[in-house]
């Protein structure tokens, strides 16, 4: 029996497994802390886990190394505290 019959493409999730995907971004979401109510909807919806909340009560922060600029946070923010600007 061959020992090479089970070559399995298994990957384990870790930060940056796909490289610095922040370079893919066309639009940069920006959180305006003066308007943010800390409802954390942006944190909950971010499909990449690129929005970080250190501890309850902190403002959410965007990790621009990995944020792909999908703008779901921009869409879901109930108080329009997130703006978008085109990357230069």
């Amino acid at each position: 029996m061959s020992e090479e019959h089970l070559l399995l493409p298994i990957s384990k999730p870790k930060i940056g497994a796909g490289g610095k995907t922040g370079t893919w971004r066309v639009f940069r979401p920006m959180i305006d802390e003066s308007q943010c109510t800390k409802c954390y909807q942006c944190w909950m919806y971010c499909p990449e886990g690129a929005i970080i909340v250190g501890k309850r009560g902190d403002y959410p922060k965007i990790n621009y190394d990995y944020c792909k600029g999908c703008l779901i946070c921009y869409e879901v923010c109930p108080v329009k505290a997130i703006s978008k600007i085109r990357e230069g």
Binding site: M1, S2, H5, L6, L8, P9, I10, K12
Partner: protein, 377 residues
Amino acid sequence: MMPRIDVITGNDAAAWGARLSRVEVIAAYPITPQTTIVETLSKWVDTGEMKAKFITVESEHSAMAAIIGASAAGARAFTATSSHGFFYMFEMISWAVGARVPVVMAVVDRAMAPPWNIWADWNDALAARDLGWIMFFASNNQEVLDTIIQAYKIAEDKNVLLPAMVCLEGFVLSHTTMPVTIHDQEKVDEYLPPYEPPHYVVNPKIAEPLTYGNILFPWDYAKVRLAIQKSMDNAVAVIKKASQEFKEIFGTWHGDLIKEYKTDNAEYLIISMGTVAEEAEAVVDKLREKGMKIGAIKVRAFRPFPKQDIVKAIKDVSKVFVVDRDISFGYGGILAGEVKAVFHDNNIDVPVKEAILGIGGDEILPEHIEKFVLENR
């Protein structure tokens, strides 16, 4: 439960095969002529006679996706389909191979539309010939039941780990009753221990989550595909061992990769699959009475294809007759093509005559096969 003989349909036999295999997850969508397999399983799950999870799904695509997930999470999983359901499932049929999940599927062979037709035809299952499933074709209801149990044993072998399908012809077997031995559960348990994945388990509850099947670039992808081919090669010996062990425990023998019938000193051979191969045995008996030295081979495992077994069985044969219940348009009979390729690769200079019979459930009687043989001998 002691073994007993029931008079049941091929679909009941398939359901019993899954039940005796102690399948843990079933996901399926109804389609004629498969429906009564999953109806029966659904009933048993409902009454508690089977301790399994039955997932109702909106399509065959989802049915296969669900059992791939169940198997990746460590469960023994089963589904069944036919014809258009099989084709709707097609993307996931291929996925199951790459995911290396040893699921088992009963395929109740039925013709493809249009025009609509619900009867027996191998063109549904054979469309998946090149995807990497182990493929069995059963000749009778007992073989359906036995082969589903064997299929789990083979698919789950650590040297194989590929999905397996057990094909039975629509109505000819699926809705026809025959006496079938329902094996003793304890003996089946002895033959087929619980499935324990030796390669990986996708379980979000364990400490280290993992992803299976992310992107691979060409060179690594090719190596993974080669590994599937090596597993298919391994399956040849595993099928032989599993069939032999089954015979020793249960006493039934349907062949391993092939079943030979009166091939000793045969000058002529009929090669076919499924119920047609059993019909061919009746033709062999009749022609042997008339003095013709003829035998028959049933190709039981279409994948892996029984290359060496066919070569060994050829011996003194001077002509071969292949009966296909399928057609590869623009080429010919699919089984005949495979047989011819084996002959070519092994320098066997024996003419192969081919007949395509029984398309769309057209009845194949012994006299049809006899006529084909006598007119081409």
